[in-house]
Amino acid sequence: MSEPRVTVAVAAVLRAFLNEPTEPRYGYDLMREIGFPSGKLYPILARLEGAGWLRRDHEDVDPAVAGRPPRALYHLTAEGVRMARYELASLYDQIRPRGHALAKNPLPEGQVS
């Protein structure tokens, strides 16, 4: 099981899950929330599932009654919650504007750069 590379797109998916970490999500609902097409979302879900960060279950419906197979539901695993929080925090640290740090140690008065 290899750790997935957390790109900005993967981070967007993780953030959507972390909004409600215990809530199972349908793929189409994630597509609408994040704005990713199926061709972008589903490989990411598969990578996260392959890494053990996501678990894929199925809704509890009778296919004969529903007239279709049960839809897949994706959950963050405990490991997934932990890693998602860690990776999003790391990503934020990487992209945080340097000005944030400068604000704590402003340049001496009169110095431009």
Partner: protein, 131 residues
Amino acid sequence: MIDRSGILIGFVVALLVTIIGDMVSEEVRTRLDRLPHLVIKLAGRRLNDDIRTQFISDWTAELGGIIRQHRASGLPITRFVIGLRFGWGLLRTAKQTNAALSRPDEQQDAQNDWSSGDYWEAVGPFLGTRH
């Protein structure tokens, strides 16, 4: 004086045209609804045997959910486009999905080679173009 048999024939012809028109419309609507399912089956052919059946089932169920959400709108073309876009995206990246859930040695083969060959031959007649 109006010929009564002419009126009758005109009425029957109008009735037949209406009925046949409805039948053709229903036929087209049904076929449009089925095409995204076909694309999903093609996407499934790009997956390994051990996950193919489950993923085709999952994707088909998701497509059913999408179509049901849009059925209330009563817009078959919109429904068709949304369903086809969903299936097409899966088809285009099925090898990536497959690689993510495969053994590491198989992951090396996971190039995004969706432009190469096999399913264009199968889907081309439905979409009319390769681009």
